[in-house]
Amino acid sequence: MNPTTSSSSQARHGGSRLVCLGIESTAHTFGASIATSEGRVLADVSQVYKPPLGSGIHPREASRHHGEVAPEVIRRCLRDAKIGLSEIDLIAFSAGPGLGPALRVGATIARALAVWLSKPLVPVHHAIGHVEIGALSSGARDPLVILVSGGHTAIVAYADRRWRIFGETEDITLGNLLDMFARSSGLPSPGGPAVEELAREGSRFVPLPYVVKGNDVSYSGLLTAAEEKAKQGLPLREICFSLQEVAFAMLAEASERALAHTGKGEVLLAGGVAANRRLAEMVEIIASEHGARFYVVEKRYSGDCGAQIAWTGLLSFQGAAGIDVAESFVKPKWRLDMVDIPWRR
């Protein structure tokens, strides 16, 4: 881990190290993590709700799962970090965006702990969490970020207290695309790795719609077309291969546009789909062609995890104090460019 951003927090809080418990529960993952203001993740534990084969995530079932596993996940996290509850300085939770019922489980636990321990409560935007843990684990400082996950597909860069969106999907996300295609083709969940594995066996290109609108991409037409090819009986490996080639090239192109436009010297690939080797390869090529350094989130923090919340909670706490429990509503809908970012320059 690269302790990049810790100095300012120590200055502000009298040189003492801060310890944060972060709780993640936006979608299928319930996670807990302990991170310190020096930029170290002491523990990161999670449990993933798996829907039955062929069906998607059901918000009520996900929240029931989270409620059941939460005590054990948090206990294990504290044990792994060798930290007692009394040593925790603040509690951060994913306040959105995501599935309401799932978010409320994490928020309820975080509120209870904050009240019981009399510690500040810090809400964290889940996507900003992906960006910041990506930056911390890779060492990127001021990157153009390509955020690819189940909930987000966005190309963002920081300027003047906000992460500004330069491009995004106009319909479903890259994670949705892979998951939904996998599901309708009988592949196991999570869909991304299953599609990637099959794609490696394919080599024949099947034409599929390539839709780039400025810096935006649109994936819904691509999903329908790929599902249609599968129904026609084309080999799944060839469709997976072509689906990846088209979907990733679209995003690489949109990212290259944003890179040329912003002139950033770094590119960071973050979020769950960042673990895909072919996507990383494409993004690395566009970065090097523009003389930018390529960074990718460490694999273990690429998917949803408590660490992204704990670390971003610490950053957020430097700029503003915690919030009142009475105001700690979750926000299932919350755009990442609405979040004030006091900790970056």
């Binding site: 959105g96 965006p97 909930g151 987000h152 966005a154 860069a157 300027a159 003047d160 906000r162 500004r164 969106i165 330069f166 995004e168 999907t169 106009e170 319909d171 996300t173 290109f205 034409p207 390539y210 780039v212 609108k213 400025g214 810096n215 935006d216 080639e245 088209v246 090239a249 690489a252 192109e253 290259e256 546009r257 944003a258 890179l259 040329a260 436009h261 390869e281 494409m282 090529i285 566009i286 062609e289 523009h290 926000k331 299932p332 809908k333 919350w334 755009r335 990442l336």
Partner: protein, 218 residues
């Protein structure tokens, strides 16, 4: 490649989609725009995209010119090798122009911009990539470049997406004045395309925005 010497070609801008070279061609100062192969794409996909866009760009530039919208003059092209030779426009990109412009100048230039977009849309020309990097301000005129992602369409949806992309380009790059600048664009657009058409497209822009991920008021 066509067997005409371009004189010395000097790379002036490496965009996302194409590289621009300054060259001399039949004693003219020109821009040679080449869509070089992209190594991140597999060859089959790459070749198809490059030639399709080169051809479409030439067609749309011609149509824009006929609509009375300033574009560089198209001099020669080859869709197979994916290059276009066009007139070189001296000026500054709208992006830089807006950074140094006063409020008044910014609003004025955006109103003109809106008029020109209205004119393109009336003729069914969708630019497809309306960012402030794709317009050049030159002697009181705004030239449009980079039609490679464009298409011909009279659909409200495509016009809406076109304006939505411009609004987002303004709010990510010129965020301090984005709202005011986009309002000026809409004012110009309405003056050219008519209030009724403008209102229909503006309503669609709002709908497209609400379709975005995690927009609160749905």
């Amino acid at each position: 490649m066509e067997k005409i010497a371009f004189g010395e070609m000097r790379l002036i801008r490496k965009g996302a989609e194409a590289s621009l070279f300054a060259a001399t061609w039949h004693n003219l100062r020109v821009i040679v725009k080449i869509r070089l192969p992209k190594s991140y794409r597999i060859p089959e996909l790459d070749a198809e995209i490059r030639s399709r866009r080169t051809l479409r760009e030439a067609q749309l530039m011609r149509e824009a010119r006929m609509a009375g919208v300033p574009v560089p003059a198209l001099l020669s092209m080859d869709p197979v090798n994916a290059w276009i030779v066009m007139q070189r426009i001296e000026g500054v990109r709208l992006k830089e122009y807006l950074e140094s412009a006063s409020r008044e100048e910014g609003r004025g230039v955006c109103e003109t911009l809106g008029r020109l977009i209205g004119r393109l849309h009336l003729r069914g020309v969708i630019h497809g990539d309306l960012t402030t990097s794709n317009m050049i301000v030159s002697s009181e005129k705004i030239f449009f470049i980079d039609f490679g992602l464009g298409e011909f369409s009279q659909k409200v949806e495509e016009k809406g997406v076109d304006l939505h992309l411009l609004r987002r380009a303004l709010s990510s790059t010129h965020y301090r004045r984005a709202r005011e600048l986009f309002e000026a664009v809409l004012k110009g657009y309405a003056a050219e395309a008519g209030w009724e058409a403008a209102e229909e497209v503006t309503a669609r822009v709002k709908r497209i925005e609400r379709r975005g991920r995690y927009v609160p008021e749905r």
